[in-house]
Symmetry: C2
């Protein structure tokens, strides 16, 4: 189960430099959007991901792929292949901010996600101002939607 | 985890009539074969299935699809779409025989599978003569291989 909130970021408002934190290169494409069936390269790991429907709460499975299986399935993706850098920034309370800086024709889009252990803490979380607009309930900021735009 | 043995059947050697047992109509296609990424229609249910590599023992996930998601992913399948009737026949010891009667250009192929709760019982199972040739370790009788032949 994945429980997360999502924010639209202006990088010039961040109180830190993303480059000071660990970074992964992510590439992903979508074979289906309802439900989500996605292939992702995460540095040198490859996954098939399935996500059930839903905005804040979704059931998620990440299943390993071979590099060849990834390339084969990627060739079947609809729309664009998304490329982004993901920075992991520790927050107070044991939370982690995943900061996604999109590349290619989705630049300069930046989206932040925070994953929570349960719905209560997700709903009650008081976001600092620099996190920008809360787009948790905006399907247009799902990566699956961005892949088709 | 799926632990199964597989047998090649001649229907004229069966000690029962398949039509006397419950039957489901199955249609399936493969998006990837290593690992297996499969879409299946099972009567009026639709699934995305992921299977890790392996012959007798494989990790398996069955994830629900919408009818539209199924049709969309099926259009991306490699090779042929497999259609078969599956009969479920109870065996001694609480086991179930799944008898797959293939249709279309794979006819008159018939394959039987027995699923076991653990590897020990799979290995020690004494198959009756009418079950025919044991093809558990023959990748050419995997449905994923049949989809490409």
């Amino acid at each position: 189960m994945e429980i997360e909130r999502k924010f639209l970021i202006s990088t010039d408002q961040l109180p830190f430099r993303p480059e000071d934190f660990p970074c992964r290169r992510i590439e992903q494409g979508y074979l289906c959007t309802r439900p989500v069936v996605r292939v992702r390269r995460d540095n040198d790991d490859f996954y098939l991901t399935y996500k059930s429907s839903g905005l804040m709460v979704r059931e998620e499975y990440n299943l390993p792929l071979s590099p060849e299986g990834y390339e084969h399935l990627k060739s079947k993706a609809d729309g664009r292949i998304i490329q982004k850098k993901r920075y992991e920034i520790p927050l107070e309370g044991g939370l982690t901010l995943e900061l996604d800086i999109f590349e290619g024709d989705l630049a300069p889009l930046v989206i932040a996600e925070i994953e929570f252990p349960d719905e209560e803490s997700a709903k009650s979380y008081q976001a600092p101002d620099w996190l920008g607009k809360d787009v948790t309930y905006s399907p247009e900021y799902h990566n699956s939607t961005l892949s088709r735009m």
